[in-house]
């Protein structure tokens, strides 16, 4: 109950933000929306599915390039079309990859996905006639629901209509993911994570379940990629580099991969902290790495995991206190 109220409060705060916060901070919040969507998908694969992908950023890149391509090939700059093209691209990319990758787990899965991600990076770089090479491709400002919204300049557009659109997308996609992980499919997925052999015996189609997780996470990643592409106006190959995938992993673990909202929390914290940190010091990577190391060692549940433990501890203590005050019943 508490957490539901908290969630509503947060959403309300996010909805009210454009009226209160200066433009710069709003442009920082949009990556938060995008990464929350991407990580919701990623965590399906990692938190619920137990598969650590070090190449997930390739779908983010696919989404951004799909957005750029929908303009350069189709000549239309519509956000809905961009999303549709991105989803198609994600499906085309992820279905064959998923069929291959679902055979593996653990390190092999990690190395395989890392290779896939770097392969895409290489392709985006080398085939410059198609992809613009290292300068990438331009993502123009799209129409939203068909509306031109000419009265806004780029910043006004980003901090106004686009902001709300992304927020709504986040809520909708979050809800869909919530239903998915609570469905029988979600149970099958976590079963195949916890004990694949036993799950097989129980009739869970482990490989199929993993394939679906891979594909769904790819689609979420691509949607986030479109948002990022519109924000910067650019789709560039570095989106697919393996360290970008590493950052996705980091944000997920930071927030808490065992909680549904953990990754979203992680992305918010990471984005805010990184923005501040980058302004303060050149050595922000060190602190990011240090934070990641400390969390992995000491607080594997991440921020939300740590909060949960605190809460349970408090509850446990309350129980123990209550017990002490009541005199023990004699067993005789």
């Amino acid at each position: 109950m508490m957490s539901r109220i908290l969630l509503v409060v947060c959403l309300a705060a996010l909805a009210a933000a454009p009226l209160v916060l200066p433009a710069y901070f709003l442009t920082v919040l949009i990556p938060f929306f995008a990464y929350s969507i991407i990580l919701l998908g990623f965590n399906l694969l990692f938190g619920y599915g137990g598969q650590l992908s070090f190449g997930h950023a390739m779908f983010v890149a696919a989404g951004a390039y799909a957005a750029a391509a929908s303009y350069s090939i189709l000549g239309i700059a519509s956000f809905e079309i961009m999303l549709a093209v991105a989803i198609v691209a994600a499906l085309c990319l992820s279905i064959p990859l998923a069929l291959v990758a679902s055979r593996f787990t653990g390190i092999f899965f990690g190395v395989l996905t890392l290779s896939f991600g770097m392969l895409l990076h290489s392709i985006l770089f080398k085939f410059y006639h198609l992809t613009g090479g290292e300068s990438g491709m331009r993502v123009p400002r799209p129409t939203l629901l068909g509306m031109e919204l000419d009265m806004y300049n780029k910043t006004g557009f980003l901090t106004g209509p686009f902001y709300y659109y992304c927020l709504i997308l986040l809520v909708v996609l979050g809800y869909i993911m919530w239903r998915l992980v609570r469905s029988p499919y979600g149970l099958h997925l976590t079963a195949s994570r916890d004990n694949p052999v036993k799950a097989l015996y129980l009739g869970v189609r482990v490989r199929w379940v993993r394939t679906v997780a891979f594909i769904v996470s790819a689609v979420y990643g691509a949607i986030g990629g479109v948002m990022l592409g519109v924000l910067t106006g650019l789709a560039d190959p570095e989106l697919s580099y393996w360290t970008h995938s590493g950052h996705l992993v980091f944000m997920t673990i930071l927030g808490g991969y065992q909680q549904f909202l953990g990754p979203a929390v992680g992305s918010l914290v990471m984005i805010l902290v990184q923005d501040q940190l980058m302004a303060e010091t050149q050595y922000w990577r060190f602190f990011v790495g240090l934070a990641l190391a400390l969390i992995v060692i000491a607080l594997p549940g991440g921020i939300l995991g740590g909060l949960r433990r605190l809460k349970l501890k408090k509850e446990g203590k309350a129980h123990a206190d209550a017990r002490q005050r009541r005199p023990a019943r004699s067993t005789a």
């Binding site: 653990g106 092999f108 890392l114 790495g289 992995v296």
Partner: protein, 293 residues
């Protein structure tokens, strides 16, 4: 004929570099089952520290033609950074392997900025020291003598590792531990000491590799992150955990990428990834790997 000689010699040089890094990766994985994403980072550390140490040594009177010794010494010294790294990794040995991967990624980030802090963000070079031995004409191809030395050294290291692992008592202990941690411990092997030794040795292979290669190139902040992908390619092709695989994989990747540079420069990195993916699909344990999926 000339073309082929050029490709082979250039490819062997690439392979030598890759082998040194991959050997460290293989050793650590073989015994400890840890994939060390930071293997490229320690390579970079070796390069930077190698420059600093050699420059210092020469300012203290070391004659220029002895510079490889300074590089070797510098590489070994900074290789000791493996000890604190192992201590940190030790804390999560029992965790799922994904976490080990993540922790080594954290190390990658930290080491990159540590390098930036001590050496700055500009690429660093060791001047023209590599040319001190001049060039030699091998099979009709001119090559700097130093490059040949690097190839020879990699071969010596490979042979040394083979001997160490195959013939010495310590080597046997390492192989036993690699087979089965619990049984080895039950037989009285101090597994944590073994882990410390292996990790430090693996790190030192990387740092020495970085140090020895630096005279022919430039040290930059991205070198660690860039090298990982090629190192992984070597390890996947050769087979995870196999030292022989490291050597064979290094030769394959080295020759292939050089061949690509000579013929279709556009596709050199692409070709490597395609081979990696192909290998993972066809034979995930690689050519000599012993790990089942």
């Amino acid at each position: 004929m000339n073309f082929l000689t050029n490709v082979i010699l250039a490819g062997l040089f690439q392979a030598a570099v890759l082998f040194l890094v991959a050997a460290g990766l293989q050793l650590i994985f073989g015994v400890q089952r840890i994939i060390n994403l930071a293997c490229g980072s320690v390579y970079a550390l070796g390069a930077y520290f190698g420059i600093t140490f050699t420059t210092w040594a020469m300012s203290q009177g070391l004659p220029p033609y002895l510079f490889p010794l300074a590089l070797l010494a510098g590489g070994l010294i900074i290789g000791l950074v493996g000890i604190p790294m192992e201590r940190v990794l030790r804390l999560i040995y029992r965790r799922p392997e994904s976490f080990q991967l993540v922790l080594t990624f954290a190390l990658v980030l930290m080491i990159q900025d540590i390098i930036r802090f001590f050496w700055g963000a500009d690429p660093k070079q060791l001047g023209s020291l590599a040319m001190i031995y001049g060039s030699v004409k091998l099979f009709g191809v001119t090559m700097p003598v130093y490059n040949v030395m690097v190839i020879v050294l990699a071969i010596i290291v490979a042979a040394g590792m083979a001997y160490f692992l195959g013939r010495t008592a310590t080597g046997k202990i390492l192989r036993a531990t690699a087979e089965n941690h619990e049984t080895s411990a039950a037989m009285g092997i101090n597994v944590s000491k073994v882990f410390l030794l292996v990790f430090t040795l693996g790190t030192a292979l990387g740092t020495v590799g970085g140090a020895l290669v630096i005279p022919t190139g430039v040290a930059s902040l991205e070198m660690g992150v860039e090298l990982i992908v090629k190192a992984f390619a070597v390890v996947v092709i050769g087979g995870l955990g196999s030292m022989k695989g490291a050597a064979v994989g290094a030769v394959i990747v080295g020759l292939l990428s050089t061949l690509a540079v000579f013929t279709y420069p556009e596709v050199d990195t692409l070709a490597i990834y395609v081979i990696v993916i192909g290998m993972l699909i066809w034979k995930p344990s690689g050519l000599y790997g012993r790990i089942a999926t």
